[in-house]
């Protein structure tokens, strides 16, 4: 007979092996090795956490009591996973893109990151899962006790409570060791997943081994086994349609909603492609798990003495046949089922409890803004570890209080109905954009109340939570409110009854309230992100943490407002706080200011949510808001760029048109100049040639005529020289090769000389001057300035066509400039030519043959060298030129000094 000691030894060795596997897998993952850890097979096997001890042992018991009905528990998940294209694919994608950490996180995240909703889901999950954990402890205890009873050498049986306690304590240690390595719940727990995959193999192998032993060892083949089933109490198919359909739906819903399933299916998912393998491999696994259940049940009913607990046939059949090895294997299978469920459930629940209950409380107690990052990490890890301990303690407590009796056996389905309440919010959130937070809370609340009232509280038996009278005739004697027959649904199976009413009313309230309430902007944003996850896909980047860190705020702000503006805002805020650099303390004032600034770019609500996200310390997807902000910023940037570009192009086009006009005019001028200059050069040349030929060839010219001709030649040569001098002068000026000869002289003196130089005499050309204004001492190259004046005055003399020509010389001073205006009373310069008169070779009119059109060009160059300007002054009586000289540095000293 198997001794208890051997069993304990094997169990301890098995547990040590699990530790080693988990440790090895964690290490391989940390070193980047072990791609096999991420294989679809491991993923599929980890899904087997669905098959708990309740299914390992309980399925046979279930079959022994109600025949094939137990299959519904496996058929529901099969339907869900072969329909992965509908729901699981979307859930996994959403989970990955939103960095979801638990089902509570998914639901709250979808409905505007509402923490209230997360708390509701967390509490409901804890209430629904605790009894289930108790059930696992019970199964381990019962199977242990079964061995103990069969062991004749032992007289002092260990109490079930102590067994349960040690199992729970061991599970706490394992879960804390391998489940809380990383803070980021979104990171994979390679060790845990690997251990669970191994346990999946063990439990399948154990159940198949027992099945093979029963069919071929005890019954002698397939045919006799089938005959045995036919002869047993479960020979006929008597499953009521409502239970067959209802339980299948229930298990399907639970498969989607159970926190532990969500953990392995979505959170621990490495690769969306793994679903493709799981889609067929997991149904095969479930099929194999249930393959031998009916034969074991039928044979057990046949062979075991009446009154034996059918839940333990898997264990007691080999034991009674003396197959202790097989029995130990079977025990390990049940042990594996129980432990894997408890470990994963504890990880999932602890994440929820610490993220949505402990951390918000801690953050609000510490003022909401934790500045140190290491600080929060440790708190979160501690919170998670304590939560694991708390959850297992609750499970143990439940086991102790319920006495581990038959009441526990029913708890599996009750638990399923509890977590199925998440289904409307989950599915609505994934597929219906109109679903909102208020609706989800109302629906969940309704479902939870009905579940507790119809199923959970009555399950403790009459008089514990509910007086017998309420169960019998309803509260206050209202018959249609009886917990077991709501709205007059008498005679229904209690589980189906509760499932039907709770989930349908839950869904109804959810939909109706969603339709008639209005979501907040964040909810609508998240709704779009979830429902259309395949349209705007793309995995989120590495933003994590969630502290009120100025740098995070700066990074976010830069993405929205643009780097320069954000930096300016931050640095000015920092200066106001008396800090240097770009990072101010995140004080409430600063945050309000920042929020307003951001609201200008993305709208108030989004800005509020974004700052709330960073400051609130929540660890979920700021990424998405950022993505949206990025889009907005991109669009804004793009449109402003376009605008700027259009403006720039228009400006350039205008400039190009102007330049083109000028070029055309210059080209025309050049042509004119070329003909002019050839004319100018040829006229004196012709005279010089003609007169020099006469002087050479003609005989008998008298001295007077000779002298006259020679002087003509001389005058013409001088004209030529002057023309060439001008050209040379201009070229020197343009190349900045002149040396300025700085001198002191009063302006009046320069003007006097210029008037003489220009050949202006009062008799033929009136000059109006104001001598007082001219009492200004200049410090400049007086000769060059005089040259400019001469040129302007000579032009006036030459081109002024008035009957009584007159030039007005006005001197004015502004702060930094001395201005001398020369205004005549002639026709002025046509506006079309005002642009070009300062160009080389420019000639205003052809009517008076004058210079070569170089005078004004020379003036302009000289004034530029002197640091001043000469420009045409439009809108005066006649032609008007203004000469401006800088008063300091360039050359004016006050005469008074």
């Amino acid at each position: 007979m198997a001794t208890l000691n051997v069993l304990v030894l094997v169990s301890i060795l098995y547990v040590a092996f699990l530790f080693a596997v988990a440790f090895g897998a964690d290490r391989a993952a940390a070193r980047g090795r072990g791609t096999w850890l991420r294989s679809p097979l491991v993923y599929t096997l980890s899904l087997s956490v669905y098959c708990t001890a309740w299914t390992f042992y309980g399925a046979v018991g279930f079959a022994a009591r109600s025949g094939l009905e137990f299959l519904t528990i496996y058929l529901g998940p099969t339907l869900i996973i072969i329909g992965w294209w509908w729901t699981l694919r979307k859930m996994v994608r959403v989970g990955r893109s939103q960095r979801i950490t638990s089902i509570a996180d998914l639901i709250s995240s979808r409905f505007g990151k509402s923490n209230a909703l997360a708390v509701c889901v967390t509490l409901l999950a804890v209430i629904g899962t605790t009894p289930y954990i108790a059930l696992q402890l019970q199964s381990v205890t019962l199977s242990f006790a079964a061995f103990a009873e069969a062991d004749p050498t032992r007289t002092d049986l260990p109490s079930p409570q102590s067994t349960a306690f040690w199992v729970a304590a061991g599970l706490v240690v394992f879960t804390i060791l391998f489940g809380t390595r990383n803070l980021d719940a979104n990171e994979r727990h390679h060790g845990v997943v690997m251990a669970i995959a191994l346990e999946a193999v063990v439990k399948l192998f154990a159940l198949l081994a027992v099945g093979v032993f029963v069919v071929w060892g005890l019954s002698g083949g397939i045919e006799p086994t089938l005959a045995r089933i036919d002869a047993s109490a479960i020979a006929t198919w008597e499953v009521p349609g409502s239970r067959w359909v209802g339980l299948t739906l229930l298990s399907a819903a639970a498969f989607l909603c159970l926190p532990r399933m969500f953990q392995v299916m979505v959170v621990e998912n490495e690769d969306e492609g793994h679903l493709r393998t799981a889609a067929w491999a997991f149904p095969v696994y479930l099929m194999l798990m249930s393959l031998f259940v009916v034969p074991i049940a039928a044979v057990g009913l046949d062979l075991m003495p009446a009154g034996t607990n059918p839940d333990l046939f898997v264990l007691t059949l080999p034991l009674s046949e003396g197959r202790e090895g097989l029995a130990i294997l079977s025990f390990l299978g049940g042990f594996s089922s129980a432990t894997s469920m408890v470990i994963v459930a504890a990880i999932a629940l602890s994440t929820m409890v610490s993220n949505h209950i402990v951390m918000p409380i801690w953050l609000s107690m510490t003022g909401g803004t934790a500045v140190m990052s290491g600080d929060v990490r440790n708190v979160a890890l501690l919170a998670r570890r304590l939560s694991i301990g708390l959850i297992l303690f609750l499970g143990y407590l439940y086991f102790r209080l319920s006495g581990g009796g038959a009441a526990l056996a029913a708890i599996g389905l009750i638990s399923f109905v509890g977590v199925a309440q998440f289904l409307p919010a989950l599915m609505g959130g994934l597929f219906w954009r109109g679903a909102n937070r208020v609706g989800a809370i109302a629906g969940l609340g309704t479902g939870f109340v009905i579940w507790a009232y119809c199923l959970f509280l009555p399950s403790f038996g009459p008089t514990v939570f509910m007086p017998q009278s309420v169960l019998d005739i309803g509260p206050f004697g209202i018959g249609w409110l009886r917990p077991g027959a709501l709205f007059g649904a008498v005679g229904m199976d209690p589980v189906i009854h509760a499932f039907l009413w709770s989930v349908s009313l839950n869904a109804l309230v959810f939909v109706v309230v969603s339709i008639f309430s209005f979501p907040r902007p964040v909810e609508r944003l998240q709704g779009a992100q979830f429902v259309n996850v395949f349209q705007h896909s793309g995995t989120s980047g590495g933003w994590s943490g969630g502290l009120a860190q100025s740098e995070d705020l700066l990074i976010m702000s830069q993405r929205i407002m643009g780097a320069d503006e954000a930096q300016a805002l931050f640095s000015s805020a920092a200066r106001e706080q008396g800090i240097g650099g770009y990072l101010p303390e995140p004080t409430p004032d600063f945050l309000t200011q920042l929020e307003r600034a951001l609201a200008g770019s993305v709208g108030a609500a989004t800005a509020h949510a974004m700052i709330g996200q960073i400051v609130g310390g929540s660890s979920v997807s700021v990424e998405d808001l950022m993505r949206v902000a990025d889009e907005t910023a991109q669009i804004m940037e793009y449109s402003s760029q376009l605008e700027a570009k259009t403006e720039e192009q228009a400006r350039t086009a205008r400039q190009l048109r102007q330049v083109n006009e000028k070029l055309t005019q210059i080209s025309v001028q050049k042509d004119a100049f070329l003909s002019q200059i050839s004319h100018e050069l040829r006229t004196p040349m012709t005279s010089i040639r003609a007169f020099s030929e006469i002087l050479r060839d003609a005989d008998g010219l008298n001295a007077e005529v000779q002298s006259k001709y020679a002087s003509i030649i001389h005058d013409e040569a001088i004209r030529l020289t002057r023309l060439l001098d001008d050209l040379l002068d201009l070229s020197v000026l343009e190349n900045a090769q002149i040396v300025l000869n700085m001198q002191q002289a009063p302006l009046s003196q320069v003007l006097d000389r210029a008037l003489v130089g220009a050949g202006i005499t009062e008799s033929e050309f009136a000059v109006r001057r104001n001598r007082e204004d001219e009492e200004v001492m200049l410090h400049t190259d007086v000769d060059r300035l005089g040259q400019v004046f001469i040129n302007l005055l000579a032009n006036a003399r030459k081109y002024c066509v008035a009957d009584a020509p007159c030039v007005d010389i006005r001197v004015a001073q502004s702060d930094a400039t001395l201005m001398i205006d020369f205004i005549d009373n002639g026709a002025g310069i046509p506006s079309g030519q005002q642009n070009t008169i300062f160009e080389k070779f420019a000639r205003v009119s052809e009517n008076k043959a004058g210079g070569a059109g170089l005078g004004l060009a020379i003036c302009r160059e000289i004034m530029a060298r002197l640091g001043g300007r000469v420009e045409y002054l439009p809108g005066q009586a006649g032609a008007a030129f203004r000469v401006s000289l800088p008063q300091h540095g360039g050359g004016v000293a006050q005469a008074a000094q």
Partner: protein
């Protein structure tokens, strides 16, 4: 989501893949149908219901069939296909 017109004709490969996605969507409906069939069965006169053994064999055969079909379909839905599968055109 976009207003761009959806092409009526697509490449043959894309067309095949979309039909495979349709098949993947049909799988759970097929499964529900198959698993509901035993509810229609009545006993052959003497006994009240059908035999447990025959229902059991039927369910397991259906199960294996579903798993096989799911395997074929998911093999055809190659992992690189990320084009919007929610678009119900083709």
């Amino acid at each position: 989501m976009s207003d761009a017109p959806v092409p009526v004709f697509v490449e043959k490969r894309t067309y095949r893949r979309r039909r495979m996605a349709d098949a993947a969507r049909m799988m759970p409906l097929l499964g529900i149908g198959l698993f509901l069939v035993p509810l229609l069965w009545r006993g052959d006169g003497e006994v009240e219901g059908a035999r447990t053994v025959s229902v059991m064999l039927y369910i397991f055969v259906a199960w294996v069939f579903l798993a096989g079909a799911a395997a074929i379909i998911s093999r055809r839905l190659s992992p690189g296909d990320a084009d919007p599968p929610d678009r119900k055109t083709g």
